[in-house]
């Protein structure tokens, strides 16, 4: 079985220690996490993890099973790149003097679909959102021309198919009256 990108989406209660528990499950099977984003989901008190790994499908099925087993994990899914719409954001801090040797700022921004975040006397920071290869190619372009700092966010993604989780989580918002 060949390895491919799988994005694991995990909905959990908002308790400390869950990040550690989930990371440990990947560690146990010696799987490297390519990127991880954790933030509040669309439902109050429920956190959403988005974790990108590169493994075989057989392995990811077993890992997702073990993640769901954790007491405070509500649900866990995995998707391939084709099943998702995903993005990541990158910030580029650039030394103005170096950059202007090669390019005009306005034209460059338009051509590369980047946005200005901030301008300072000696540097400026631009932002680009896109797929990994898009942020990567912009990085390669800027590297020889005064790129001072560069950071990439984790992947965020929504699935193409309809997810049952939203309905399930809505139920959580109503108070539990039966024991």
């Amino acid at each position: 079985m060949e390895k491919k990108n799988f994005t694991v989406s995990i909905y959990t209660e908002n308790n400390p220690g869950l990040l550690s528990r989930i990371a440990a499950i990947f560690l146990k099977r010696h799987i490297n996490i390519e990127s991880i984003t954790v933030s509040k989901s669309e439902v109050k008190e429920v956190m959403r993890f988005i974790i990108l790994v590169n493994v075989t499908e057989e392995k990811i099925q077993k890992v997702v099973g073990q993640i769901e087993k954790q007491i405070e994990v509500i649900k866990a899914y995995y998707h391939t790149d084709e099943e998702l719409i995903f993005q990541q954001t990158a910030l580029y801090k650039i030394r103005t003097s170096e950059f202007e040797k090669e390019w005009k700022l306005e034209d460059f921004m338009k051509e590369n679909n980047a946005w200005m975040v901030t301008v300072a006397p000696d540097f400026f920071v631009i932002e680009k959102t896109g797929k990994r290869d898009e942020t990567e190619s912009l990085y390669e372009k800027l590297k020889p021309y005064g790129l001072m700092q560069f950071v990439r966010s984790g992947r965020i993604a929504v699935s193409k198919e309809e997810m049952q989780i939203s309905g399930m989580l809505e139920k959580f918002n109503t108070t539990n009256t039966n024991s």
Partner: protein
Amino acid sequence: MELKTASFEKVSTETTTVSGAEAVIKCLLEEGVGTIYGYPGGAIMPIYDELYKYQDQIHHVLTRHEQGATHAAQGYARVTGKVGVAIATSGPGATNLVTGIADAQIDSTPLVCITGQVGSHLLGSDAFQETDIVGISTPITKWNHQITKASEIPEVLAKAFYIARSGRPGPVLIDITKDAQFASLEFSYKKCSGIRSYTPVPEINLLQVERAAEVINNAKKPLIVFGQGVILGESEELLKQVVEKAGIPAAWTILGLSALPTDHPLNVGMVGMHGNYGPNRLTNECDVLIAIGMRFDDRVTGDLSRYAKQAKVIHFEIDPAEVNKNVTADIPVLGNVKETLKLLLEFLKPNKHTAWHQEFKDLYKIEFDKIIKDELHASSSQLGMAEVIEEINNWTKGDAIIVSDVGQHQMVACRYAKFNSSRSNVTSGGLGTMGFALPAAMGAKMGCPDREVVAIIGDGGFQMTIQELGTVFQTKIPIKIVVLNNGFLGMVRQWQQMFFDKRYASTEMVNPDFVAIARGYQIKSNHVSERSKLKDAIKEMMEANEPYFLEVIVEKENNVFPMIPTGAAVSEIRLE
């Protein structure tokens, strides 16, 4: 905030103002806890102070090492089905619990461990006896949590017990800072009845049960392999009925042992690395493999690429993550076997598989002639382990609880001990923790005081928790402790002989005078090395009304067979 994520029963305890420490004790009492095992220390002193006041309601056993406390709690839980409780202080006290917690995790034993922790203002400052036990125990607990406010105690402990005992049981660790123990709260207790993110038992799909029944009814060579799930699901009677109605030979894993009486006509023995010849060989000949409450551990399956590939696999299992983890199930039947076996029974047709069953008997005869006969009726100058077990059987008649440690003697004890009723075999299966048996035997006897408890321990494992002889002496718990002394770490030595050209690296044990040590702990002791004296030695031990230690000198270099070497298929099980 907690109320939204978990549901609690309404219980009519009036609210009282108590300290956090007292609240802990009251929670334990509400959960029906009668005996706890532990070791005091600075960070848990407030709880011990309250224990002192409640000593007529809760019995605390002081072990001699926190590891002993966890194993004792495990032994207690294994024989009673109740949640075992172990408590310890912070730092080294907590870290000493780790082995026992890991053992409970892998063997699905319900345990609640409570550790004291430094004051919350000191957390993360490398204070005296501070360790991040929550961080350390995360991979080996079903759930863990640190309490820094006294008000959290009732709900967190209620959740802890609910999680430990529900679904597939497991250990839970609750770490309570010292200030939370001292602070006061308005205490009223509500048992936990549900946690929204946790489904302990999956929904049963009736269609799967019907499909399973159909396949079983049409099977020509069906084989049942049952594990601890039958015992945890309290479905021993149902298993027996299924076995008898459909006439299916049934084999057990080391933790499933005693769920079906060992002398049941359709009980065909143990599977796994040192199991019986028949069930291992015929796993690769059956047409339907019915796995009930077992997880296809690597000791059972041998080489997975050659395990039961010819058979349709039906897997009765409560934990969805276990299905298709090691072995692909053609028909997974999720749910608690207590319900799924009951449903299966209705759809099963009465049947017999006499010729197929005979194959097991024929293979047993080969194993008997080649191995068992000489093990049970040895003629060598020195005693063998199997004949000691057999002599104990003659006395217990299969009614005792046998607690075994880890190693060759464990395999021999599990192969040869007789069991008439369930929850009679207590051993460290998944983790193989040496030193398990002595403290576990104490816990087992305290859990079932009316049953005979015999611990079978090797000279290696005995020395790992030998300090618990102190607990035996202090509590006067009348367990029988048998040390089978061969002067070696036998199992490793066997591997060194078979696979490492007899290079006995660090496996020879230079042992002390065990009898003198036991007598130093004021425990009645004896020593036997001659066959002619064995019967009387066992008799004296079994008739004693106090704790009794018996050292049996056995043959130094004996090997346990049959054996499936690592990497071999189950059908390649060796007789020599």
